[in-house]
């Protein structure tokens, strides 16, 4: 009996031991997860710290001492414009880069959105099954190609084609092919696979009953595809577009290879070379000395890039919720607009009252 008792106590002890071990191990895994999750916090903190530094700390470059000018930062048309003796500030401008970035990405979206929606419709609904499988595999492969190779393809094929078209069709004889449109084409090519994948998934899961209903009413297959399937898959297609657009905004290597590196101004023609936030951050990296103003101001550009990505994400997601909800959720913009309207009317009524009071006296 004593033996059995000791068996029981040892097994209880063992169980408690196991339980404690469980807690420790669970804690270790939690710790690991916290480390992973903290990466984004660390990145954000560093970028903001280093990015704000140029406007706070005084730098000494080739004899001049000062901070960077905030107003020039947002309005300037040249990345590195020297030192302004009057204000005592360094002039580093990214305003034009922001405009260029948006310009090239909008052009790229104009190309990639229709292409990916129609291709997705083709793969999901129109193509015969074996062809659809092959195309889907091809699209997956396109998605895996690294950006440098897109850059090589861009310089090797896209740039000469654009050059020929610009010279022969548009009579722009100075075109070298290194241009905004080449960059936009490459960006479009890179974001199309992402957009297609999500759209295909969405289109494939359209309610079969709805399709049957449409056909039973005398609609043709094509009419059903365009009027019902696309409408039904709206939110998935839009989600794919948002994801692809976000990726394109962050692209650096391929753009810098294909769009060139002009140092001045907002690009006005699609056939001119252009520089974006991302490609400027890559340029002349070799000469940038850590902790110099030139180096730190790239972080400021990084903050702008992140801000643009986050803002476009929020706006586009809001639009997506609006168009895909049943009750038509109001857009943030309209709500903001209504808020402003309310504010203005309050202010005007208040000031009217104040004027009336003064007159009364």
């Amino acid at each position: 009996m004593i033996n059995e008792l000791s068996l029981v106590t040892t097994s209880i002890k063992k169980a408690e031991h196991k339980h404690r071990l469980d807690k420790i191990i669970k804690g270790i895994f939690l710790f690991i997860t916290l480390v992973c999750a903290s990466i984004i916090v660390v990145v954000t903190v560093f970028i903001i710290y280093k990015g704000v530094l140029p406007f706070i700390k005084k730098y000494t470059e080739s004899g001049d001492t000062g901070t960077a000018s905030l107003s020039y930062f947002f309005s300037g048309l040249r990345f590195q414009n020297g030192f302004d003796d009057q204000t005592g500030k360094f002039l580093y401008g990214v305003g034009y880069l922001i405009v260029n970035t948006l310009f090239i990405n909008v052009v790229a979206a104009l190309i990639s959105v229709p292409t990916s929606i129609l291709t997705a419709l083709f793969i999901a609904r129109i193509a015969p099954k074996p062809l659809a499988k092959i195309m889907q595999a091809g699209i997956d492969l396109l998605a895996a190609i690294p950006s440098v190779i897109y850059g090589v393809f861009g310089i090797g094929v896209i740039v000469p084609v654009v050059k020929t078209i610009a010279r022969n069709v548009f009579n722009i004889s100075s075109a070298s092919g290194i241009s905004l449109i080449s960059g936009a084409l490459i960006l479009a090519l890179m974001s199309i696979p992402t957009m297609i994948s999500l759209s295909v998934t969405s289109l494939k899961t359209v309610n079969e009953e709805m399709i049957k209903g449409s056909l039973a009413l005398g609609a043709s297959k094509t009419q059903t595809n365009f009027k019902i399937c696309l409408k039904s898959a709206k939110s998935g297609i839009f989600a794919g577009i948002i994801l692809g657009f976000g990726r394109a905004l962050g692209e650096a290597t391929a753009i810098s290879m294909v769009s060139g590196s002009p140092t001045y101004g907002i690009t006005s023609s699609i056939f001119d070379p252009t520089v974006t936030l991302t490609s400027q951050m890559l340029l002349s990296l070799g000469e940038a000395v850590p902790d110099s103003l030139n180096y730190d101001v790239r972080f400021s550009a990084g903050i702008c890039l992140m801000a643009i990505i986050i803002i476009t994400n929020v706006i586009l997601n809001d639009v997506k919720d609006h168009i895909s909800s049943v009750e038509k959720k109001p857009l943030l913009i309209t709500r903001f607009g209504l808020f402003l309207k309310g504010l203005l009317s309050k202010i005007s009524s208040f000031s009217l009252k104040a004027i009336a009071n003064v007159e009364h006296r």
């Binding site: 056909l215 609609a219 043709s220 409408k231």
Partner: protein, 265 residues
Amino acid sequence: MEINAGIEKEEVIEPNQKKVFTVKNLNLFYGKKQALKSINLDIYKNKVTALIGPSGCGKSTFLRCLNRMNDLIDDCKINGELDFNSQHVNQMNTIYLRTQVGMVFQQPNPFPMSIYDNVIYGPRCQGIKKKDVLNELVEKSLKEAALWDEVKDRLKANGLALSGGQQQRLCLARCLAMRPEVILMDEPTSALDPIATSKIEGLIETLKKNYTIVIVTHNMQQATRVSDYTAFFMLGELIEFNTTNEFFSHPKEKKSNDYITGRFS
């Protein structure tokens, strides 16, 4: 079986009744499996024909033959004679057939658009664009489906925002907007609550003045309430076809009797 004496029903099949569909020796195969065996049946104009029978007996499959929705199923082979207004159905333009023969499904399936767009979807697909024609169609169809009063102020609202019964009436209105000759209904009330069900059954009564209706139902009481003719299917065969009154009071086949008395369902 209670037969509702208040509503006029066919006592006998009149010999000069106009036939909308005539079916002779219809066989249907899903691959190797035969789902319909030698069906001989007539659908009469401006009458309600109910197709009843236990699950898997082929009544929905037969219904789908009438507007060629079986074409959507791979490996489905049909032989025999199926005529719509004396034209062979398999020689007609499928889309044209479907404009003349509409269908309401078991699960309400309104499109993700406004109520207005839902109703005129069919006519729009046929190229009808004139605003006044469309507006009139919407009002008429929604009135015929007894939905107009409930939605006339919110025609632009999304169709999916309606309740289940309203959605099914919307699907009916959508069907009616095509002004078809025949309306096929595949268990239209099985997904609805009793109040919505009775609304639809009342509609069937008024609609049959202008339309021919074929309704599949697994609910015998519903068949007795709404239909003029009843066709009893079992295991792919048509066991018996007669006026509803006659079928339920004096069934000719033993199998019909067994079904009516609830031996199997």
